[in-house]
Symmetry: C2
Subunit: 159 residues, 2 copies
Amino acid sequence: MNIEKTIKCAYDESINNARFGDKFEEIEAIQSTIKSAKSVVVATRNEKKFKVVSDIISKITDADISMIEIPTNSADLTRMPALNKGLIAVDSSNADIVVSRGRLGIPGSGSLLIILDKKGRILTGSVSPSSIIHKNPIEKTVELELINALERIGIMVKK
Amino acid sequence: MNIEKTIKCAYDESINNARFGDKFEEIEAIQSTIKSAKSVVVATRNEKKFKVVSDIISKITDADISMIEIPTNSADLTRMPALNKGLIAVDSSNADIVVSRGRLGIPGSGSLLIILDKKGRILTGSVSPSSIIHKNPIEKTVELELINALERIGIMVKK
């Protein structure tokens, strides 16, 4: 099943009070959307963060992986910086998949990494503690976030 | 500092390219907003999930904790069910704080738990794997999500 079909089924179930959690075919549709991507844009202009994401994504796809071409600071003045950064990438590129990372909510709320499809729909995501709390180097944090976001939908990454 | 002030400062820093991650006073403003809440609404109609959330929140606040009074199924037909469920609670109650849990994104994308303030701003959050992947009992999953959401902004919960 493709994503439009799994969404239509799930919405039907919700309307009819017959929805009982995620289904195998839904996870499968998400996995196949990510793995079959031909073009991935990473919504960052930071070379170090880009390299970490690119190294992991290249293990699970044959996609061409590139950095977003315009600055995304404006997203930091919105209620959901990580999401809005990702949508800037979706709307300004032809990416099949966008990987975006930024603040979850207000300043202090820590980071959110999300993977969006070409329509801007959220396929998976993960959070890290506020940088004040964890103190890990940024590369390690981004690596763990991306691996976690993939693993929670059943894509295991070889290390 | 209150939240409006920490947001104003952080937005100023972002505009001027002088933002270098979360600050102590931002975390502190979030902690104090949560701890000083007088009324908390949990955006669920499930007694089991409500009890888990209520037990944890009552350890860190003196708030009156109640269940949302209207069904939230409609949020499951949106792009961010957990967020929209929370906003239904913010908009239909006088809660100082809302705890909301639901799907992160599309069907299959697993769950997101978020804590919102009375304006609907996101204070913290956490994710779990898709239920197909983890197989934990729902009470345990909700408990871990809420503890994780609180710990990542430095609120440690006594077990």
